[in-house]
Amino acid sequence: MEEELISKKDLLELTGISYGQLYRWKRKNLLPEEWFIRKSAFTGQETFFPKQKILDRIDKIVNMKDDLSLDELADMFSPASKAISISMKELIERNIVSLSASKAAESYIGQSEMYTFEQTLCVYILDYCLQTGEISLDEGKTMLPTFLEHYKKFKEQQCELILLRKMGVSVFLLVPSGGEIHFESGVKIILRVDVPAMIEQLKLKLMAI
């Protein structure tokens, strides 16, 4: 799957930002290093970016930089867990997760009063998967322990959650993002969840009060 790329020159023209801003955002880790793809073009060395990702990110930065400091923004975009704890009641009241997802999660995470960021993320992803209508509640219940057990191993690396199904049997995988995966025939990819994007959404929802 080839991503569409955009050159730095075109990006600056399209978004109206300056070199200074672009370099500052890179310094503040608002733009991940992996997105800077150096290639030699006929005009000399040029930097390219994955078009959709960088445009989305710049759009977010431009819209939010008046309300949040650059450091707060960087915190939001980073895949690192936030040090927070929040009660399930609050999560449901604020409409961050649905009641059914939280019920399903309760038996795995335990009925603790406060949820850590990682636990919240897990419930949030379960909720998202259920909302897509692609997975059943039972499948969701097998996803929870998979995620809880293995997510830590990725540390701050970006990863992806994939659901496969073959002849009615479903399998959950947690893989590093960016890698290519191939399957035998008959395997259907039901769902691919980009975990960093989920983290970003969740952080945004948690921050909005």
């Binding site: 730095k8 200074g20 890179k26 310094r27 000399g44």
Partner: protein, 224 residues
Amino acid sequence: MGDKQRKILITGIGRSGGGDVHLAKIEGVGKIEGDVRCYELSINGKGDVQGHVRAVTASINGMSSIRGGLHADKLNIEGKVSFGGPVTGEQMRMNGMVTVKGSCETEIFEANGRMDIDSLNASQIKLTLQGSSHINEIGGESIHVGKQPGKGFAKWLQSVPGPFANKLSAEVIEGDNVYLEYTTADIVRGGIVRIGPGCTIGSVEYKESLDVHSSSKIIKHVQR
């Protein structure tokens, strides 16, 4: 970051394992065989840190090598220092010969001397050339590269082209406000670009304006 009591102090000749301390200080010849996290790093003489350094303020005088990277909000260098990894911070002032194998990211970068850096990203860059510097990529808001007026013997040396001449070579220089002297670069991209004396630039792409000194050579330029 380390309680006030804990210190690494090397006076004379000595070595330490590193660790979490308030003050890490070498006076003389010292070796730190690991990572250091401290409030203040101070090296006077010859230091060799084999790990990574994280400090609030760092001052390195003399001849040192930091095998890992360094992060310091304020960094001051006088002398010859080489870094084996990225150097990050808020304010950097350097005077001497500095080598960075990796990127150098800071808000303010003021350097005087010979710099050899893979990539430099800073909001304000002021580089005074003495000897020949090489920086692959330079990016920032305001970039000013100038030459130190030579005196006596130094002036005579500079008149001969060669390794003693004051110059900067770079591949790509990108900034909103760029002023260059005695620079050889493949590409310069910017908003307001001023090319002073002694430059050879492959291609200049500018947005607002371009001024070129008569002694400089530009192969092609485009406004966009």
